[in-house]
């Protein structure tokens, strides 16, 4: 008799442990969202629509990966959407108007991103201003720069094929799906980010810094250096995502990526990463990225009027966050 109750207890604990894990919660919610949309409009799962979603997903997803690591360390970056615009704008300006080799132009663009991330990181860690304020100011500076150097106009399209264009925005046919190589970038970077966070020494430090910065420092963890590195990673990956996007649509716009910072943070948090730091999940972020893209896409397909669009996106995110909080609370209180 005792063994039966024990076994039942074990099974219940197992289930509670599982449902308490934020990734699983998000995965279940994602399945529900996908099922709901495909019932409401069968075209949701058509090859054309899936290809469409898969073109957008990697660009925001790549930014979300770096944001996950940054949030886990207890900081966040509001300037990523602006960097998403400035990176390709610099590349295109150099390549088109200064006639510089595209490969070198890409390097300069990434170097600018590194500099932006480094400035963010150094001010946050060494001067001790909250990352909200620092990166909010940086958002204005970077977006303003992009607007000023382009005089507000999108740059001419770049249609010269070449190794870099194929590397960043080449496309290929997989069965009925038209996919972009950016998907490979996303998969590769996801694996790297998951490895770093879960298995590497650095990942242990990132979580520890977000969980209790003083404790990490007292153990000799170089907390400031780690955070600066993560700010740089967030900037560089945003610039890279911007370049991928610009090459895909053959245009660099100074207003590209407006609002992406919040969309990306929403993806990360919906996936289960703690906004307050200390706990992060890459799998959750991938699920969150899928979820937000699917919601944006599905809402249009089921015929929600264009102007009401954001109401639904916001409401759905809120519902998911509430579900998350309720499920994880139930799981945590044993």
């Amino acid at each position: 008799m005792a063994t039966v109750t024990e076994r039942l207890e074990e099974r219940r604990n197992w289930w509670q442990g599982l449902s308490a894990s934020p990734q699983v919660t998000s995965l279940i919610i994602l399945a529900v969202v996908l099922a709901g949309f495909s019932i409401a409009n069968p075209n949701f799962l058509s090859p054309l629509n899936i290809s469409n979603m898969m073109a957008f997903l990697p660009e925001l997803g790549i930014m979300a990966l770096a944001m996950t690591l940054l949030l886990t360390a207890g900081e966040f970056d509001l300037s990523v959407g602006a960097v998403f615009a400035l990176g390709p704008v610099i590349v295109m300006l150099l390549a088109q108007q200064a006639g510089i080799d595209i490969g070198f132009a890409l390097l300069v663009g990434l170097a600018v991103c590194i500099a932006i991330g480094a400035v963010n990181g150094v001010i946050v860690t060494k001067i001790g201003i909250s990352s909200f304020l620092v990166t909010l100011s940086m958002l204005l500076i970077v977006r303003g720069t992009a607007l000023y150097v382009t005089q507000g106009f999108p740059l001419k399209s770049w249609n010269e094929p070449g190794i870099f264009v194929s590397l960043l925005a080449g496309s290929f046919q997989l069965g009925p799906f038209k996919l972009y190589v950016s998907l490979y970038w996303f998969i590769g970077l996801t694996l790297i980010a998951a490895y770093i966070l879960n298995w590497s020494k650095l990942g242990n430090w990132i979580s520890a810094i977000g969980s209790n910065r003083n404790a990490a420092i007292a153990r000799g963890v170089p907390a400031d250096a780690v955070k600066i590195g993560l700010f740089i990673a967030a900037s560089v990956l945003s610039g890279l995502a911007g370049m991928i996007s610009a090459f895909r649509i053959s245009a660099a716009s100074p207003v590209a990526g407006t609002g992406y910072e919040l969309e990306v943070i929403a993806m990360v948090v919906v996936g289960g990463t703690a906004l307050t730091g200390g706990y992060g999940t890459i799998l959750g972020t991938v699920v969150g990225a899928f979820m937000l893209r699917a919601i944006r896409n599905g809402i249009v397909l089921i015929g929600v009027p264009g102007l009401a669009f954001n109401i639904f996106v916001g409401a759905l995110i809120l519902v998911m966050l509430v579900l998350h909080a309720m499920l994880s609370k139930r799981g945590a209180r044993r």
Partner: protein, 260 residues
């Protein structure tokens, strides 16, 4: 008299115009428990932070086993064999016990990868459970459990066992019994005795003078940024120690106690 382990000479530290430490000197010997006492603002915490590298000292000299040492960061202190258990801030609550025990010196495979090297999880878990067993807290605690599922006393035990595991010469405890229940407090005091038995030198900061008389060999009293007294526990009593902390005459204090 046993071997000198840590000697501080004229340690100074200011924060802006505030001189938190004017000139603090003391000597710690092998295998002794020294209680560091003083009222709020006496400079105890500042001194501990200087020794542990969290807020390096502005001046003065530190000798470890007779050799002059430089402590500019927490890593320096740890490498010199000085482990500090800070008040409430020693562990990362979201991380597992095993990850906390080895935070900052994780066992890795492929060490040439630097910070990107993969943690050797089988070794980490094994070492963690060996350690938990050695310090006698293996029965309930799972090395993979997150620290935020533990009680305050269990957390202190984890922090203390982490300090013991790296065979630290000096273990500094900054108010280790704060916010602990009676039973947990006794657990921590038992740990202090075990640390001494294992040959560690313990510097114990506390406000609770009763604990001092239970575990300490010597008492060092600080007042206004300076060491004002050093006494052997057997040669003093509670009232004299309290008088030293407050900077008044013991007889006066006894007189006041009668009035109230």
């Amino acid at each position: 008299m046993s071997v000198e382990v840590l000697r501080l000479e004229g340690i100074r530290k200011s924060f802006g115009s505030v001189k938190a430490l004017k000139s603090a000197s003391m000597t710690l010997r092998e295998g002794e428990v020294v209680a560091l006492l003083g009222d709020n603002g006496a400079g105890k915490s500042t001194l501990i932070k200087a020794i542990s590298g969290v807020h390096p000292a502005d001046g003065g000299a530190i000798y470890v086993r007779g050799e002059k040492a430089t402590i500019r960061s927490a890593r320096d202190a740890i490498e010199l064999g000085i482990e500090t258990i800070h008040q409430d801030t020693s562990l990362a609550p979201d991380l597992s016990i095993a990850r906390n025990l080895f935070l900052g010196r994780e066992p890795v495979k492929l060490p040439f990868l630097g910070v990107f090297a993969p943690i050797d999880f089988p070794l980490l878990r094994q070492a963690a459970s060996t350690l938990l067993k050695r310090v006698g807290i293996s029965k309930k605690l799972d090395a993979d459990a997150a620290v935020n599922t533990l009680s305050g006393g269990e957390r202190q035990s984890i922090a203390i066992s982490r300090a013991m595991q790296f065979a630290a010469k000096v273990i500094i405890l900054d108010e280790p019994t704060n916010n602990l229940g009676v039973e947990e407090t006794h657990g921590v005091l038992r740990f202090v005795k075990e640390m001494r038995a294992a040959g560690h030198t313990v510097l114990f900061i506390t406000h609770n003078i009763h604990h001092v008389f239970q575990v300490a060999d010597r008492i060092i009293v600080m007042r206004r940024g300076e060491v004002v007294a050093e006494q052997t526990v057997g040669d003093t009593d509670l009232l004299s120690v309290e008088a030293l902390i407050m900077g008044v005459d013991a007889a006066t204090l006894a007189e006041q106690a009668k009035v109230h």
